[in-house]
């Protein structure tokens, strides 16, 4: 059943091709910008920076840009609007877990976005810039799973923001906070491996790298073998934690739920 909701998410996303195209253009533009800046950084560091050469850096840039349509780093969600408008009442009328249903739909939309936004981004990276990718099958298989977990962690976390609306009503502040922190620590602007040690330690203590940085690392073969499995393990642990917290907050929120708008 949650699978059906996931498909519904896919279908919803696919009904807005123009929005998807606009997202892709924005992705590509910022991808080129990132490429320029980070290539310059690699160049001035003498060809390698924190283990990245230009090929590896390009792979990072275009994969992370490609995931941007699928990993939710903006903090906004359908659920947030539903809590705000009171439409969440409808969700409680269904014989499903409210959290599970919301996240399944969002992950469905995220997975769909991999086709029109993820794939073109990777193609631009491959054809226009050139990027170094693994030559064996392993990293791709584990990487695909890691990407799926990453997408799910992001939507599960954004769900937490949405349910804070049970108490806050106005959740824009939470969204802005998330947007600024999540992007930085998920490794959207630069790999977190370029951070000073203390900042990297802070990032690694949060679930944000599990959303984008770790999947990109696994997929590009920056981490391999047992280390890669370990990274995915960390992702899964964060996913479990975030989902559990979501359950707790949903239950607590129902107690205070007042259903906006009658």
């Amino acid at each position: 059943m949650y699978g059906r909701l996931l498909v519904a998410g896919v279908r919803r996303q696919s009904s807005y091709p123009l929005a998807t195209l606009a997202g892709l253009v924005a992705n590509a533009t910022f991808g080129l910008l990132k490429t320029g800046i980070l290539f310059a950084a690699v160049g001035s560091a003498g060809g390698t920076l924190a283990g990245y050469d230009v090929g590896a850096m390009s792979a990072y840039v275009w994969l992370s840009q490609g995931l941007l349509g699928s990993v939710n780093l903006r903090g906004r969600s359908d659920m947030m609007l539903r809590v705000r408008s009171g439409d969440v009442a409808i969700d409680f009328l269904r014989p499903v877990d409210v959290q599970g249903a919301a996240i399944a739909t969002d992950v469905g939309q995220g997975l769909f976005a991999l086709l029109p936004r993820g794939l073109p981004s990777v193609l631009i990276g491959l054809l226009a810039v050139g990027m170094t990718m693994p030559t064996s099958l392993g990293p791709y298989v584990l990487g695909a799973f890691s990407v799926l977990v990453g997408i799910t962690v992001s939507h599960a976390f954004v769900y937490l923001l949405a349910v804070t609306g049970f108490w806050l009503v106005e959740t824009r502040g939470v969204t802005v906070l998330y947007m600024s922190v999540a992007g930085l620590f998920a490794g959207l602007y630069t790999p977190i491996w370029l951070f000073p040690d203390w900042l990297r330690a802070v990032a690694e203590a949060t679930p944000f790298p599990s959303m984008m940085m770790y999947p990109v690392d696994v997929l590009t073969g920056r981490v391999t073998g047992g280390d890669a499995v370990g990274v995915v393990g960390v992702q899964l642990a964060w996913l479990a934690g975030v989902l559990l917290l979501g359950q707790v907050l949903t239950r607590a929120g129902r107690r205070t739920l007042e259903v906006q708008g009658g």
Partner: protein, 315 residues
């Protein structure tokens, strides 16, 4: 009992500037509905109707009191209850806004765990009865309000619930759409014995659909009984307003009707009549024997008026 509440209470905290005030939306409400009944739940805006319904289905947690719906505890057994109750909130949609109407039905069928064949048969039945076929493939956001409401009702009935709760199902609908929806609901009840609980501001809904009326006021039950009884209690009669060709004396002494007032020196006259004992046509005939009628209109009693007089009477 399919619905049973004892001392059901719900309070809300309302913030007014810096001060907080507690409002009792539902106040020690005790009511019981037997399976198969059709109950109209009426009251003015803010009387506590929607809050009651939300507690009945487990959306809101009661502040105090007991509630059992289909024998279940709504909050704790929410998911089990959801399989046995269908709810339509006139102001909110349970369909997927950007997906075709038909796909919403498919998703709901899956959510309710209906088997494929069963789901298809039930969906086809509802689509035919509610005349949804023409816009089954249209995204929900592009259908008209009347079409959407029919789809909402179908969505709520897909899993064959024993209890159907309708919160303002006819709000904003035109006369024809209202009529079709009411006819459908009457048929559904007759064929499946579905229990019906509906809130409305439309007296016509109550007259055509309900055999029992509950009036709630300030969160308390102000009346519980038949519609006739309600009409008798408050004198909720219809009023025939006739415009005459020439001023005439007050039309008193007409059978089963009472002259209320005249305007324009007798050009327009208001005649109250009890729809139980006579019809508008019979009254019109009686009037036309005494004066030439140029135009007419019929005023239905407003639910707000009914509730107001009940409230006044109960004090």
């Amino acid at each position: 009992m399919i619905i049973e509440t004892t001392g059901l209470t719900r309070e809300f905290r309302v913030r007014e500037g810096l001060r907080r005030r507690t409002v009792r939306a539902v106040d020690e409400l005790s009511l019981a509905v037997t399976a198969g009944e059709s109950v109209g739940y009426i009251g003015a805006n803010g009387a506590g109707k929607s809050t009651t319904i939300k507690m009945l289905v487990g959306i809101l947690v009661p502040t105090a009191g007991e509630v059992r719906t289909c024998g279940l505890r709504p909050v704790q057994d929410r998911r089990d209850l959801a399989r046995r109750v269908g709810v339509v909130f006139g102001q909110r949609s349970q369909l997927w806004w950007d997906l075709p109407v038909g796909e919403s039905f498919e998703i709901l069928a899956t959510i309710h765990g209906l088997r494929d064949g069963e789901a298809r048969a039930r969906s086809a039945e509802l689509v035919e009865l509610l005349e949804i076929g023409d816009y089954l493939a249209t995204p929900v956001r592009q259908v008209s309000l009347g079409q959407r409401m029919r789809a909402e009702v179908a969505a709520a009935l897909l899993h064959r619930p024993e209890l159907l709760i309708l919160d303002e199902p006819t709000i904003g609908l035109d006369v024809l759409s209202k009529q079709r929806l009411r006819e459908f609901l009457v048929t559904q009840r007759r064929e499946h014995g579905t229990t019906l609980l509906l809130t409305t501001h439309d007296m016509g809904d109550i007259e055509r659909l309900c055999d029992r009326v509950l009036v709630v006021d300030h969160g308390r039950l102000a009346y519980d009984g038949s519609l006739d009884g309600l009409a008798r209690t408050v004198g909720a009669r219809r009023v025939l307003v006739v415009d005459l060709a020439a001023p005439a004396a007050d039309l008193v002494g007409l059978p089963d009707a009472t002259h209320i007032r005249s305007e324009g020196g007798g050009l327009r006259q208001h005649l109250a009549f009890d729809a139980e004992s006579t019809t508008a046509a019979r009254l019109l005939f009686a009037v036309s024997e005494r004066a030439e009628v140029r135009d007419l209109s019929i005023e239905e009693p407003e639910i707000e008026d009914v509730v107001r007089s009940i409230y006044a009477a109960s004090r």
